[in-house]
Subunit: 215 residues, 2 copies
DNA sequence: ACGTAAGTTGAGGCATGCGTCAAGATACCG
DNA sequence: CGGTATCTTGACGCATGCCTCAACTTACGT
């Protein structure tokens, strides 16, 4: 399917587009206008479509550099914490910090776009999260009824919070996450009014997030 | 400025538009296309602009019927609770239920639109909230460092949650709110990593929400 | 150096949604 | 009933953003 060899100029354009996409995505999020990426790369929008064909392909091309490393690093730091609760808390805060630091990461973490690479990155994330959660629960520090799917509540919430408060109160989200973490400690637990989401439900929600729609 | 008396047909159209707006807003939220409202009212979009002139004016015309009563009712029920914590929890859950039950209310509560009437409604809300919060704090049930501005964290979060999970997991948000409430009990309190938002900051965030922008 | 396959261009078609205005319709007054 | 002020209409222009394709340009092999 894919041509093995590109003409030199095409190859150059592909690289310029990749770089431009990385920059624009980081500044404006994964929904940034493709035209702007083409403009920044110094090529026409037609070329962008020639080289990539879709936003998704473009995202796939930059996803690893954009997200994989930072997410891995956050998990690594969390696991390195001696205290399992501190590890969990550090993970949650760390991921939220990523969300706050870069619109594109925020989109990745709250799953505003799906793509092959992104999905792979998330699957890797998932396993690390399970470990971090279980470790904290084994010691009776994280409430026992907390599931990995519940993490999405945290990240979806922070996604919006960060998006809207980054201007007026850049550190405001930390307070919200603080409240939330206090509710996740084992000793804070009270019976919950609803069952956890199933992985399928999470999947479905993410799928709809991709659709876009208003907000 | 405003004409005191309208011609009969104009008056009729105004009412039809008001009704249509109420219906469409309830179904789709306050950002629903104005054309659709005109269509449902059986008039042309030009007439909508003749009668109202802007989305904001249209919102103002339906805001009281749309939002004021239900918000008041939730606060009333909360205050009627004997236990101040139950009152507070019931208020939070109640408001979130409104968010979940109607896209327009969700927009009002999370302040996706500003308008004169809406602002007035919110100011009324504010006082009731202060009372509910203080009552629960006086008894040492709600954590002492919780401010009225922090309520917005809850409602902003739920707004997004509800918007995205209403299809796949209609009751899912209750679980998220459950976690949050557990973090708000006095005995769950741990030092927070950030200061509360000032009312000005809340104002500014709300102003930006109105702007729209992506998501 | 030249021919051709490969690549690029950018105007233009699509769709959404806001807001306007000249032309036509209609209520109301005398 | 007629005249006029009031009101309605709906096509149009605007803007955003996606995506395409016929015409043009360029790299590369010989």
């Amino acid at each position: 399917m894919a041509k093995a060899t590109l003409r030199a100029d095409a190859r150059r354009n592909l690289d310029k587009l990749r770089d431009a996409a990385l920059g624009v995505f980081r500044e404006k999020g994964l929904h940034a206008p493709l035209d702007e990426i083409a403009r920044r790369a110094g090529v026409s929008s037609g070329t962008l479509y020639n080289r990539f064909g879709s936003r998704e392909a473009l995202i796939d091309a930059v996803a690893p550099e954009l997200a994989a490393d930072s997410l891995r690093a956050v998990a690594r730091r969390a696991i390195a914490e001696r205290d399992p609760w501190e590890g969990f808390a550090s993970y949650v805060m760390g991921v939220c910090e990523l969300q706050a630091s870069c619109p594109a990461l925020n989109d990745v973490i709250s799953r505003r776009y799906a793509s092959e690479q992104l999905t792979a990155i998330c699957r890797a994330t998932e396993e690390r999260e399970r470990y971090i959660i279980e470790r904290a629960q084994r010691e009776g520090l994280l409430r026992a009824d907390f599931t990995r799917e519940d993490l999405f509540f945290v990240f979806w919430s922070t996604a919006t919070l960060v998006r809207h408060t980054s201007g007026a109160a850049p550190e405001g989200w930390r307070r919200a996450v603080g409240f939330l973490l206090d509710g996740l400690r084992a000793e804070a637990a009270h019976p919950l009014p609803a069952e956890p989401l199933t992985p399928d439900q999470v999947e479905e929600v993410m799928f709809r997030l991709g659709e876009g729609g208003p907000l």
